[in-house]
């Protein structure tokens, strides 16, 4: 998939786009795990251009969230489209994952959360 990546301080922002389904979720998993293997501890997944996601993609989010929580890292999501947010809520992800309205709110919130933890 080759996720577009942008760095903001120690936060890595990866942009998701199009459709994440049973066919390409494996590539997404490889890309995200590659980032975590490379030492990324603070990851923001920007969903502004994400139109569709099924449980194969949700599984990858759950794996990444568990791993980053275990390593005292941070994972957050921002700019979810109405349908994607509906999926998160239906499956209870809004209770276990950190979701922000947009990228600025996410960067602010992630920095505030890590300052508090330090």
């Amino acid at each position: 998939m080759q996720l577009p990546i942008e760095q903001n301080g120690s936060i890595t922002i990866a942009s998701l786009s199009g459709q994440i389904d049973s066919v390409n979720a494996g590539e997404l998993e490889n890309d995200i795990m590659h980032l975590l293997d490379g030492g990324t501890l603070r990851l923001l997944l920007d969903c502004a251009d994400l139109e569709y996601i099924n449980s194969a993609g949700l599984r990858v989010f759950l794996l990444a969230a568990k791993r980053l929580e275990q390593s005292s890292g941070q994972l957050a999501f921002c700019t979810l489209d109405a349908n994607v947010l509906m999926v998160f809520q239906t499956i209870g992800f809004d209770r276990i994952l950190t979701i922000y309205a947009d990228k600025n709110a996410a960067l602010e919130g992630m920095n505030a959360a890590s300052a508090k933890a330090a």
Partner: protein, 142 residues
Amino acid sequence: MRTGSLSTKLDVNLYETGRLNQMVQQFGKWHQMPEDAVFQISLSIDELVSNIVMHGSLSQPQAHEIILRLTISNREIHAEIEDDGRAFNPLEAPEPDIDAPLQERSIGGMGILLAKRLMDAMHYSRIGCRNVITLTKRVGVA
């Protein structure tokens, strides 16, 4: 919504699920289905078909074909998904506990749960040597 129906036969592989999604989404738009209903019906069909492809290939007898029938009437979308694999009732599959804390959340079973929650009705029957799942989604006045 415009009324209409679609019937198609799929091969049992994951690439078909991606193509199926495009088709269901186009079909929904063409029939003036509300955007959230298009998303919900296409996701539910995708989850159930992906499940047949992934589990149907691990157990004997394997599924060789999947048939999808989709019908739109005035206020209702009806989908029927049929396969010729081993008997499997997705409604009896264990459900993940979605209230569990993050580390205890199960990564399996989310697809079937999504379909159950997003549809107004979901039924399973074993007819001869075929599994038949029916989905119903009611749509408000658009």
